[in-house]
Amino acid sequence: MSLDFNVPSFEVIRNEKKCIQCKVCIHQCSNMVHVYDEEDAVVYSNNNKCVNCHRCVTLCPTEALLIREYPLEFRKNTNWTRQAIKEIYKQAQSGGVLLSSMGTPKTFPIYWDKLLLNASQVTNPSIDPLREPMETKIFIGRKPNKLDFDNEGKLVTVMPPQVELNVPIMFSAMSYGSISKNAHEALARAATELGTCYNTGEGGLNKAFYKYGKNTIVQVASGRFGVHKEYLNAGVAIEIKIGQGAKPGIGGHLPGKKVGEDVSATRMIPIGSDAISPAPHHDIYSIEDLRQLIFSLKETTRYSKPIFVKIAAVHNAAAIASGIARAGADAIVIDGLRGGTGAAPTRIRDNVGIPIELALASIDQRLNEEGIRNSVSLIVAGSIRNSSDIVKAIALGADAVYIGSAALIALGCHMCHSCSTGKCNWGIATQEPFLVKRLNPEIMYKRLVNLITAWNHEIQEMLGGMGINAVDSLRGNRLMLRGIGLNAKELQILGVKHAGE
């Protein structure tokens, strides 16, 4: 092996005055960064192995550890940045496609941060959610254009299946395999307690989790891993995954080393084999093919479950969404450019797709113009970071949001972007039993419940401020939004006025 040109990304700084040599950092680091030197009786650190996941820093009982960016300076050059240079070193060494995890770190505009919310003053009272009801219940599913009652006032319209959610927030698809069983359990239990749903992702559903069926959305993706009749009927809805915001146009790849006994049984693939999801569904080459899949899934479940179709936000998203609605989907999921992933080619993640805000606004507008917005639910995903992002998404026209990264962060993810290594020190993106153990579902599901409960409180506060007491009245209520620092075209696409207008 020749010389590796790459210098470490991070530097571990140990305060020797504080270090009590308890070796907790050594025991906790799956990357073997910390080593105890018996002879000198000191703990030292291998910077080049550190991914800056903060596990050691968080567990160090004396706050003796600090990690910072490796302070080596590169000559300033706006074009040839440190990142650009390091990537070339890496590829020149490996000859491979660059892989990344989690959402893109690039500086694309975040429209959530360029939208401001309204509040009532004088002419309209704000509503105090602590004193008055403040409703966040929603229903995901196809809605008939109208309801018909007979002369006796009996409802004659047959309602299509709906998923009832107490909060307009669901946990997005993350497969068992890409994340650990404990992470799944935490998501499933939290969804159950919150009265919302989590999503199996395309890794099938472990037998142990069938009991959470009422709060489960099962996914059917291009690899068809773990898909069988019982699975399709196990949840409350089925999601057909066409694409993912972090890697539109790309399939998935779960490395064989993550396919242990249990993952193998769940996915219905041999132990140790790579699970490769093709880029397209090979039975969907057109919108009418999608319609066939939607209806074959409806047949399988006797029309008792809504079918979601998930696509990445791409240039032509509005027209595609319209097609999906007309193909019979009950809900459309749009995953934006900044969405997360366990692993994606870096160039794809950082360059393909469009921001979710713009996609959402244009899709909602398009469906409205076509008069079919009410017939399908819109769920958005990809970079929802907090409750105000959610409020803005709903005001732009979403029925609900999916959160992925935010949920993982609640479970301990420190966004080190190293999911693909399988050595997640927080027990999330790993199948190593000693690491998985670190994510105690008993503790972690409560953290998820806390997070969503807190967000829901905040949503209620914001709704109350706007003088609204049901989230129903926020959906598509773009008057509640104003843009800040946006150009005319952006305002037009978003369908909002500029602040001050």
Binding site: C22, V24, T62, K437, N440
Partner: protein
């Protein structure tokens, strides 16, 4: 009576319990001083279970037995079960004969670093709270009613 239970399926083997046990039983009650300036034996300790597939761990400390062997073995009356059922060692009376160590079926009593008394879990009654329980990052050590029947 509430006892400390170590839940093997949750234990990460990080040994923070040992660190905090020493702190709680130090004179200074300061984590850094306790380790750098005082020499204390931890009353809780991590044991490893090594199998072909993996290493797992569990924490162990005095079980505060209903019928404590150590109390009966104690020649000086230093070891006693208090009214709350906690087995305690009166360091003033202890002559470190090690009779208790000889009979404890869990190996949960250790000779103190000073060699003059033995060290064992006292549920941190003097400290006010069981610090190992409080600080365990994975809730692998819990203070539970003694008839707790969860799988270890």
């Amino acid at each position: 009576m509430k006892k400390i239970y170590a839940l093997e399926e949750r234990c990460l083997g990080c040994r923070l319990c040992e660190v905090y046990c020493k702190t709680a039983h130090s004179k200074s009650k300061n984590i850094i001083k306790a380790h750098k300036e005082e020499d204390i034996e931890s009353a809780i300790f991590i044991e490893e279970i090594i199998s072909e597939k993996q290493i797992s761990y569990f924490a162990l400390q005095c079980r505060h037995c209903a019928d404590p062997q150590c109390v009966k073995a104690c020649i000086s009356g230093a070891m006693y079960k208090d009214d709350d059922g906690i087995v305690k060692n009166d360091k003033k009376k202890c002559v470190s004969c090690l009779s208790c160590i000889l009979v404890c079926p869990f190996g949960a009593i250790k000779l103190g670093k000073d060699g003059k008394t033995v060290s064992k879990c006292d549920l941190c009654v003097d400290y006010g709270k069981s610090l190992c329980v409080e600080k365990c990052p994975n809730n692998a050590i819990e203070l539970l009613e003694e008839h707790y029947k969860k799988e270890i």
